[in-house]
Subunit: 294 residues, 4 copies
Amino acid sequence: MTIGIYGRQFNNSVIPYVQQVLDCLVEYDDLEVLVYESFFEFIKDKLYFPKQFGTFNSHVELKNNVDVMISLGGDGTMLDTVTLVRDSGVPMIGINFGRLGFLASVNKEGIKSALNTLVNRQYSLDVRRLLKVETESNLFGELNFALNDFTIHKRDNSAMMLTHCYLDGEFLNSYWADGLIVATPTGSTAYSLSCGGPIMFPRSGNFVITPISPHNLNVRPVILSDAHVLTFEVESRSSKYITTCDSRTEVIDSNISLTVKRADFDINLIRLNNESYLSTLRNKLLWGIDTRNY
Amino acid sequence: MTIGIYGRQFNNSVIPYVQQVLDCLVEYDDLEVLVYESFFEFIKDKLYFPKQFGTFNSHVELKNNVDVMISLGGDGTMLDTVTLVRDSGVPMIGINFGRLGFLASVNKEGIKSALNTLVNRQYSLDVRRLLKVETESNLFGELNFALNDFTIHKRDNSAMMLTHCYLDGEFLNSYWADGLIVATPTGSTAYSLSCGGPIMFPRSGNFVITPISPHNLNVRPVILSDAHVLTFEVESRSSKYITTCDSRTEVIDSNISLTVKRADFDINLIRLNNESYLSTLRNKLLWGIDTRNY
Amino acid sequence: MTIGIYGRQFNNSVIPYVQQVLDCLVEYDDLEVLVYESFFEFIKDKLYFPKQFGTFNSHVELKNNVDVMISLGGDGTMLDTVTLVRDSGVPMIGINFGRLGFLASVNKEGIKSALNTLVNRQYSLDVRRLLKVETESNLFGELNFALNDFTIHKRDNSAMMLTHCYLDGEFLNSYWADGLIVATPTGSTAYSLSCGGPIMFPRSGNFVITPISPHNLNVRPVILSDAHVLTFEVESRSSKYITTCDSRTEVIDSNISLTVKRADFDINLIRLNNESYLSTLRNKLLWGIDTRNY
Amino acid sequence: MTIGIYGRQFNNSVIPYVQQVLDCLVEYDDLEVLVYESFFEFIKDKLYFPKQFGTFNSHVELKNNVDVMISLGGDGTMLDTVTLVRDSGVPMIGINFGRLGFLASVNKEGIKSALNTLVNRQYSLDVRRLLKVETESNLFGELNFALNDFTIHKRDNSAMMLTHCYLDGEFLNSYWADGLIVATPTGSTAYSLSCGGPIMFPRSGNFVITPISPHNLNVRPVILSDAHVLTFEVESRSSKYITTCDSRTEVIDSNISLTVKRADFDINLIRLNNESYLSTLRNKLLWGIDTRNY
């Protein structure tokens, strides 16, 4: 088994936990470890390497060599890792050194046990669908997909924007708002939830369109099958606005038409055998400990 | 072609429109008309019958004899009609004498043209999924299905209730609230929308669980595939609470466990060729005419 | 100083704490204690009385004899106590044997210290405004005031109701909804909050009108000075509906006009010197411990 | 009577209506007209001036010479006019060439009649309170007041921000959000309403704190007396964020403390005798024409 490791730069408090990951991994004989090169450069003088690890540098190298990806960090780091994993089908798991995430579900106290479970392949795959954004200008290049969400947003200081939305080519609605979110079920518990969107369960097969600070009081989040194709056209008083694919941002002109549909590939999240989406959900949203007056 | 007609009692202002329906139908040679018996009793002295119509009296008679059902009235009358149509597969259409409904989509100005389109079979079928409620005590009898929604609600004067919800047997959450709604996509624009639920498009294949006046501030509507099975258990300070299946109501004890899942049959709504779900939605929700300060 | 005590019936787990209250109170020489008679009947065989306590039986007896009222129980018990205190100006405090309330702010671990602070008059008064309801038929009799809220609600099984609302005699809006709440600042963190109302700080001098499950998507809670007079008229498809004043309920006919305005008296909550409304608010609403993905 | 006129640049379709304003004003003998200089430069070659108008150039000139201000345009233009009127007490009115505004309440069909009513002083004053922002660095200079709202917002591409809020120096809450709004009653129907805030009536004497896309699910808009002083401190992952006072924007560092309180002056809106805040509200929010399924 070859394990790939991705991480962002971190501060010193996290060093012992990353060291623990390395120490655990070298205990397995048949295990090869490849570290993402720029992350390797960051850690190579900070950590002790019990044996030599290789590196990898791109999606292609990952696809050809890695069996399982480990993301070291929170949900944001998981989204980065997705940009390397892409359509490879390589399953991925996140080890979280801070608070538990929705995506990065192994906490720092459970590193050893989680890695053991992982190496022994005692896990199931939690298949998550992605969306992709298509434009004439090939916006976001090869990284035009999102595990969480695609957003359109007015720029700083701009007035709100008017966005026309079409569903399979048929007019749906024109939104006066600060922006719009199209979220996958995975993304429904991220920014969309802050903007009043519902929680969508991972296997619901849907998108949600959630307006951001809508001017019209009678719009509501809309749920629709991810078999549909959405198109957006923006009329902005300023000529530019912002789009995002997960954490990637592009500033674009208001005369561009954007198409959002289901991506051609899914991501395989590793779900260790003692984990549950429902318990993560309850934990993250503080369900069960609200104490208002009863 | 045999057309079945269902209606509720109506006031005199509606007579000319019902008369027009009858007058139009007799103009087609090969058309037989069967009127639901109790409705026939209500209209027989109020209207002129150009020729003799038969009657039908039950779901079984409808299933064996009717090719297309016409519901005379609004969305509530459509829900009544569903209790006759059930699993027969007989397509149904609603003629609305008041404002347009989500379900009853032919207005009184368009009766003649709609009937002509209908008789010439120039329509498509808009397949809508239902939910059903299962209990040991066979609550709601044969009518334990809903096109719109199933609800649990505290009774008048009662304190709020605590409802435990399970998803395929796994604990999801305990809701302190006045009640809970499980809505189909069709029902998402009815009571669930009033309680903060999102709009779900007809073919999204999902349920939404929407709490009614929830005490806990961090709960949100939850969207999940209708392939799941939901179970509810109620702890109420009073021993009784109310459940509904569409417009049917039962008062039950708090020691009953209720299971909600997708019904075994769908309903075929007739969608005439010039109709669109999206335009109905925009029209009903006043999208496009909000005039706040821009 | 004469202390009045009010309580509801309680279960045995609470006995030691009520006993502790009694034990503490007899330690002060100049303190007389009067217990509400029906509560005295409930506790007299359950507790040990270190010395003889008197009783009182009515608002008038309270007004003439009591200097400080102690409510034993949660926020609901506090609302009961308000019906005895009324316009007497007698300050009141709640000792809560369960979770802390918004109103009943002394917890069972702090009984001794709180009573000492109380007897030594080391407190300030937190003046809370009430509303009152006026009808021709003298609905709610002498108890037509509310510290929390006044509500109008459809009955079980009824369709939603149409309520016309007037502000100082001028038409404000007609609400299609399950009901309406008029809440004081104190009540803004109770039922109104569950129905989407904002938090109003105690001294804001306002009412909020919060619709319950409104059918119209473009209505919002409305905040207005409590110097205004509100009038409500109901058109209900059924002829009856429910009104409440705090926890008191009346079923009435839909042809009654109801007027809601500020009550003629305020209630003085005792705020011990180490207490803070803001910390209660944060604690009750779980502010500061939300852990979603950051 | 001296009338001051302020306007922004407009497109040609509006010319006849501005001409009509001028034509009407010259018909009154004792009326002097002063036009804001930069607006005069914009219109002087576009319009016919029946007699010579003077100009004014600043708040001071307005304060010393103008009796009544007319704002030509929508609510945004009214906010501009407020920056000239400031603490002068000069009453102001808005003539709106597009859709009616909340503030600019005379429509283009009613120009003649409105001006006649105005000149004959058949109006009452609708006194609106403002807020002001105080910082060490004198942010917003002399224009540190707002009729609508003060906002703090993360910048484009930034992660959400953590804002600590204090009430009269006591800690209230820390908000994880895209931003925060402090709105006056006047501003409660503007951006705050889009972000889920309630409607506050003009004379309610309150502020509302409304979070923008809050990460924490259990925060809610907070209403508090405008006698309170609010202080905000920002922790932003990026070092800069955006603040606004009505339509004025400043980018600032996250180490600045901002204080928000009631401004020292009010604005007098002219309310012609046939106008009503309640009818404006119903009209702008589409109350009374929602047609969902009843």
